[in-house]
């Protein structure tokens, strides 16, 4: 008659926060995460800074920049997984939030150029070129790192909140929602292409010189940015694992599977959808802000509809609703992309399309699902 016979989650009682956090990932996942952090925070810096370039163990600047960039993409993919995999809402406009974070941080980097630009002016070069005499109002304060860090979080959050509020309140769902998000990022791209918008037109921002006073191209700076990205990615994975295992995550899954039933038992889906949507957008913004100083450029191309579709493909390839899947997907697709664009640039889009078709037809759970199937089969025959 007691609940002791139940194997269901035992009532928690007073468990310390650290322990609760520890229980949101499996042991193996914690170990992998530790190895990942040790590699990116210790091994990579040592192999880049201390091992001479002639050595076979030297990690090149190219490799660090490439992996750092892909880690930013992986962060976007995890954000996409939260809203698509767990929330059942397919956004095809996540490139916009990434770009907004990137542009916000790019403003700080542009201001950091100071008088080292080609015109030797206090204003960014593109403004001098447009014959502007002073900074537009929305550039005010962008020389302050703190203010810009706030913008990186707040701008994607605000855009996502306003758009999401109206879309979810009007119960726009499924393919309609996806199409509207495509239109949103497309419209933003056209806006940012215009010189008068004040973000450098089609050239965007580039030629950055320093970040927080440090030379942005210095190997040490590169290593710090790389490590920071790895830390943020790891923290996001842990936080997301906690989130999807919370009651919030279960309500979200319930909304994904049977929304009207959720309403019938007294939940208002609007707040839940909005919360995960805004969180996802903010994570993309952070990814964009980490991306720009490492890659050294941001332009409106980041908002192209195709870019946002590619994000969805990373997640589909890796495996939805698995958190680690999107990371694997982002790495697989982007490593393949950088190989293709060197060896067979003209075939990349064909390959991407083919990959997408194969995954949707044969691997609905992505690479993670395939891995699990293989493990199960091995376990079955053994």
């Amino acid at each position: 008659m007691s609940s002791a016979t139940l194997s269901a989650p035992a009532p928690a009682g007073r468990v310390p926060v650290t322990l609760r956090l520890a229980s949101c990932l499996e042991r193996k996942a914690w170990i992998s995460l530790g190895v990942f952090l040790a590699l990116s925070l210790v091994a990579v810096p040592v192999l880049h800074l201390l091992v001479p370039p002639e050595s076979a163990f030297h990690v090149s600047a190219y490799a660090i920049t490439l992996i750092g960039k892909i880690m930013c993409y992986a962060l976007v993919a995890v954000a996409m997984d939260l809203i698509w995999g767990y929330g059942g809402i397919l956004s095809l406009g996540h490139g916009l939030f990434f770009a907004l974070g990137g542009y916000a941080f790019g403003m700080y980097l542009m201001r950091g150029i100071g008088r080292d630009g080609s015109y030797g002016s206090d204003l960014p070069d593109f403004m001098v070129f447009l014959d502007w005499k002073e900074l537009p109002w929305f550039w005010l304060g962008t020389d302050s790192f703190g203010w810009v860090a706030l913008l990186v979080l707040a701008v994607p959050a605000l855009v996502a909140f306003v758009f999401g509020y109206f879309a979810f309140r009007s119960r726009i769902k499924g393919v309609y929602f996806s199409i509207i998000t495509q239109a949103l990022t497309y419209a933003a791209m056209l806006l940012f292409f215009r010189n008068e918008t004040g973000f450098g037109g089609n050239n965007g921002f580039t030629d950055f010189k320093r970040i927080l006073g440090y030379d942005i191209t210095a190997p040490a700076t590169r290593v710090v940015l790389f490590g920071l990205t790895a830390l943020v990615l790891a923290a996001t994975l842990v936080g997301s694992a906690w989130l999807v295992k919370s009651k919030f995550g279960r309500v979200l899954a319930a909304i994904r599977d049977a929304e009207s039933r959720v309403m019938f038992i007294g939940y208002n889906p609007l707040g839940y959808k909005l919360a995960i949507w805004v969180l996802s957008a903010v994570l993309c913004g952070i990814a964009g802000a980490l991306y720009v100083p490492q890659v050294g450029i941001i332009n409106p191309g980041e908002m192209s509809p195709a870019n946002s579709i590619e994000i969805a493909i990373w997640v589909a390839v890796g495996g939805r609703a698995s958190l680690i899947g999107p990371v694997i997907g982002a790495f697989t697709v982007n490593l393949a992309k950088s190989w293709f664009t060197v060896s067979f640039p003209e075939y990349w889009l064909f390959f991407l399309g083919l990959l997408f078709i194969v995954v949707t037809l044969y691997l609905p759970q992505g690479l993670v699902g395939l891995w699990k199937q293989l493990l199960a089969r091995k376990g079955g025959t053994a």
């Binding site: 609940s3 269901a8 928690a12 009651k247 899954a253």
Partner: protein, 276 residues
């Protein structure tokens, strides 16, 4: 005009003075032992009368069966009680004071009327335990869910409900893997977690095996007393097993009422069921 309003007001005030207890507005008042009153309810769809001056009173703790041929208006009656359909005329009261015709669907659900639909819908990806957890009567806002942790009482309550609906062995299984009958039970369990005073169950044993049907009857009988139940069903063996009072609905109004044997012996009922 004014005098009429004045008169009504006095009438009403006179009545409240006569009550032996005070009531908070919006609270269920069962002082007269009746939980649901339907009086002269009529509903028509494009001129077709789905309900025609329907009268029904359910006592607190009662288990009532509603039977009747297809199209008799049974589901429509439940729609009226839950606020999904507004009656063209008539009154519907929950307890002495709550006017159901003036309340929204969520308000009615919150006041304590739970309904099970014909087709079971459970959250297939979540376990049976988690399905009950989500249905539990508690704060359902975003922050509350983010910070929610199951207390011991809550855990015990879920465990007790799982046992009651005979799913304690299946607590961790995804609901999508349960049998059809088990899904029906899980949905009843979700209903119970919301602690309703009145349960409306529309064809709850549809698609169940005979064994499952009889167990469901046992479950309902055990719920009566604590809860009031209104069960719509075609299956006569099930109705017999429930053993409560039976109301026969036909063409939108009550044709007969009484225990099953009496009702079955009624010539008008026989005519409706055996064809004219």
């Amino acid at each position: 005009m004014n005098t009429l309003v004045e008169e009504r007001k006095q009438e009403w005030e006179g009545e409240t003075q006569g009550l032996a207890h005070m009531l908070k507005p919006g609270e269920l008042d069962l002082s007269h032992g009746v939980i649901l009153y339907l009086e002269d309810i009529s509903v028509s769809f494009d001129g077709f009368k789905a309900l025609n001056k329907l009268n029904l009173a359910i006592n607190t703790g009662e288990l009532r069966c509603i039977i009747g041929p297809n199209g008799a208006g049974k589901t429509t009656m439940m729609d009226v009680i839950t606020g999904k359909t507004r009656p063209d005329s008539g009154t519907a009261f929950f307890g002495q004071t709550l006017d159901l015709t003036r309340m929204s669907e969520p308000q009615i659900a919150h006041a304590g009327i739970g309904r099970k639909f014909q087709k079971p819908t459970v959250f297939e990806q979540l376990s049976a335990f988690e399905n009950l957890e989500l249905a539990m009567k508690t704060d359902k806002g975003v922050w509350a869910s983010l910070l929610a942790r199951l207390s011991r009482e809550q855990g015990d309550k879920i465990a007790a409900t799982l046992e009651r609906i005979r799913l304690d062995k299946e607590a961790d299984r995804p609901a999508g893997l349960l049998s059809h009958g088990q899904k029906q039970w899980l949905e009843i369990g979700m209903l119970l977690m919301q602690e309703p005073r009145l349960l409306l169950l529309d064809e709850p044993v549809a698609g169940m095996t005979d064994d499952e049907t009889m167990r469901t009857a046992e479950l309902f009988v055990s719920l009566a007393g604590q809860h009031s139940l209104v069960v719509v069903e075609h299956d006569m063996a099930f109705v017999e097993a429930l053993g409560g009072k039976v109301t026969v609905l036909c063409e939108g109004s009550v044709l007969a009422e009484g225990d099953l044997a009496t009702v079955q012996a009624d010539p008008r009922v026989i005519e409706v069921y055996l064809g004219r």
